[in-house]
Point group: C2
Chain length 125, copies 2
């Protein structure tokens, strides 16, 4: 007999790239705004789920990046989702303060239209 | 005298990875739902802007992927945005039909909670 396929989640079942990383998109729970995209490794996925605080992998520093640890601009995890190919994550979050290091709410504050760049928002402080 | 910094957009000013690719997140213009994440190269960025039809780079096929060319599930570009580091794109789209190859509206149809995976939506057909 075929065993029913268990639906327990194992971070190792995700498809990480050759650096051991997976892209993670952060979306604001309230507004639906896409706030940022950063990277996670298996340890940061596990820590995010265990702590309820979104934790990325800093490629520049080569260490776990507990979002907001320095700035206070933390992301509380509302829900983690994965895509059909298991190679991208969507984290729905409650964002304290700006998500962007430029102190804008979202990192995606530059629009392109008619061959020009337009700044959509200013720093909050 | 300092020249004013032009704000014309040049796809070559984006930060592509060592494969020449940049992640592109597609978000539904109407609902704000995050639909999918795929990759673009400089040529697909340029074609997306020129045609108004979202065009990715297929890593598996090694060719331009004009989203919906086979399925009819096209993405009309409403706005392209780039992030603070210029290494990720957000395309706001009008999606015809499902975005996911599984015929679900969004690729992010699996949620993780309490160590279990939950299916959030069914195929539309």
């Amino acid at each position: 007999m075929t065993q029913p396929r268990p639906n327990t989640f194992d971070p190792a079942s995700l498809k990480f790239d050759d650096r051991g990383l997976i892209p993670a998109i952060a979306q604001d729970h309230g507004s639906g705004e896409v706030l940022m995209m950063a990277w996670m490794n298996a340890a940061s996925v596990a820590e995010t789920l265990a702590s309820g605080r979104v934790t990325y992998w800093s490629r520049s520093r080569g260490e776990l990046w507990r979002k907001g640890e320095t700035s206070g601009h933390i992301q509380r995890l509302v829900e983690m989702r994965l895509d059909c190919d298991r190679d991208c994550l969507l984290v729905i979050v409650e964002q304290t303060g700006p998500a962007c290091h430029t102190n804008r709410r979202s990192c995606f504050f530059t629009a392109v239209s008619d061959g020009m760049e337009t700044e959509l928002s200013k720093p909050e402080f």
